[in-house]
Symmetry: C2
Subunit: 334 residues, 2 copies
């Protein structure tokens, strides 16, 4: 199964290998190769079904034409969209996008980064990393341009969603919701899900607190229940909040659709009147959420904006570990 090489084409065309190479890789103009020669070679190449060996080219040029994206998982609307945007933007820049997931496992993350570096990827995007700085160190050692996404690091430039602004806007929208209904305006608003140790969650909680304090004069520490993303645990937390009907929440802001799923599984068991005037918000986006029993305000991140900004940072050659924030948008219920 011998593949055609430039030497085969050189033989067939009577030109030298370097002429063939130039004719086929676009440098022929600079090398002043006669256009007729080029066309001749190109037609022979087409006839023979020639494809350049990209490993050989990469070895010679010590780059590969590959752009790598490392992220936690595909099975999540945010990351899935991020990957799609990444592919679009990478292709537009003549790069071959390759995506690998690492399940928030720092070891796997670093192993994958090293593997990609060994394949000489030209740039590396690291999204939602468990340990962005460890990856950055590997990249720095290899002289590889790298940018963090969604979760910032301290050793490379980062592009993240403006979690504070997003949470603040979401909280505002929840206060503004259902102005006509006066059923249970006395209950409080709660922030549910996520971990305070997560960077994004911390920022979102800050945005939530700011608006709650501005609106109600204070924000009790019990109004933030950040015990992780596990749907079952979130369900139990919601149950606790509704234990005393008199003190039932007025509004719930749930951090991430996965935690939201947990909240729902409990709310579904309550008698409809109890939840009727509950205002629900979700920091995340899922189309099905529009069709649930209750209206829900959602936050949708601008993945295209994140990726474009990241490419901009990379190509601008900026090396300072600055953090750029991209504003997400609100999705209101019908």
């Amino acid at each position: 199964m011998k593949k055609t090489t430039i030497y085969d084409l050189a033989q067939l065309s009577g030109a030298s290998a370097s002429t063939v190479s130039a004719a086929l890789n676009g440098t022929w103009r600079a090398r002043r190769i006669k256009e007729s020669t080029v066309r001749e070679i190109q037609s022979i190449a087409a006839r023979e079904g020639y494809r350049a060996n990209l490993q050989a080219r990469g070895l010679r040029q010590s780059r590969s034409g590959l752009a790598g994206l490392i992220m936690p998982m595909y099975n999540n609307r945010f990351f899935a969209s991020l990957a799609e945007s990444f592919e679009v933007e990478a292709r537009q820049r003549g790069l071959c996008p390759i995506t690998v997931t690492t399940h928030r496992d720092p070891e796997e993350e670093q192993r994958t980064a090293e593997t990609l570096i060994s394949y000489a990827v030209d740039s590396l995007f690291v999204a939602g990393a468990a340990e962005p700085d460890a990856v950055s160190r590997l990249c720095a050692k290899a002289g590889l341009r790298q940018v963090n996404l969604d979760l910032p690091g301290t050793l490379a430039a980062s592009v993240i969603s403006d979690n504070f602004a997003g949470a603040a806007a979401l909280t505002e929208a929840m206060f503004a919701a259902r102005p006509g209904s006066g059923a249970r305006l006395k209950g409080r608003i709660y922030f549910l899900g996520g971990r305070e140790t997560d960077f994004a969650t911390r920022e979102r909680i800050a945005g939530f607190r700011e608006v709650v304090t501005a609106r109600t004069g204070s924000c009790g520490s019990d109004q933030v229940v950040a015990t992780g993303y596990d749907p079952e645990i979130v369900a139990r937390e919601v149950q606790v909040l509704f234990r005393d009907p008199e003190a039932a929440p007025r509004a719930l802001l749930v951090n991430s659709t996965i935690a939201f799923e947990g909240g729902l599984s409990f709310l579904g068991t309550l008698p409809p009147p109890t939840v009727e005037d509950l205002v629900l918000g979700c920091y995340d986006y899922d189309p099905f959420v529009r069709y649930l029993r209750f209206p829900v305000v959602m936050v949708r991140q601008d993945v295209g904006g994140l990726i474009r900004e990241a490419f901009r940072l990379l190509t601008s050659g900026a090396t300072s570990p600055k953090t750029v924030r991209v504003t997400p948008s609100l999705v209101m219920p019908d």
Copy 2:
């Protein structure tokens, strides 16, 4: 930013490049290199932070250690899970998984296949391809092992879900649903969404028809409404079905969550009693669907099984274009 090579290590260790190479790539046993030499070299390599240049290795061995997966998109639970299973299984086999999406665009599909071939991927998985055979031809020309997933081709082995069995089981479950309630047992069951030109949809319709005929004695051609996946169009189709309250459907089997989303957006506008006894099924899986206003039976494909079977076919060296079917499972409402 010079990277350490085996020559650097040869210098440092006093051994030759070929000895270093063997010591580091695992072939040293076969080459009868003294174990002490090997350990010496390995420790120097570790100290220097040496990483093999995988492009060079790949060029020399004319393989890359890469396993490629081409699929339509990430933003879909089935394909996202497929990619995750693929990565797990590829890593277990010592391969570096790389995934690329092509949005059901045949041109993009072929371009991507050619690119991956040029990078000398060792095997190529092609899922839900628009034109699997075109890709197979490219792979055959390059002597590359390839397998189709989800959508079969005629030129390479294929592993697909058993759509007929899945649809039949789903339809059976829908007939069996709510045996106690006798509200509207006279209405008919409908198959909604997808295109009859799609292979999977055709198989699913066949499974649906078989069960409906067995249960009711016949299955009218108007009971299959396959006008695509567009949620808006599906919404209109559902609206038509409910125009005459007397002839309203008893059950709707919706093909894919994306089409299901459309169905929902109309059902949500109906007065609750009208839809109360409607039985809903969805050929696809989404966790949020469990929390909708109506119970829904879903079909979940066995992605792990698909991938493992595909690897088995590839490594068994089978070249015949046979099609293996993997049975999906039903997800019943709570």
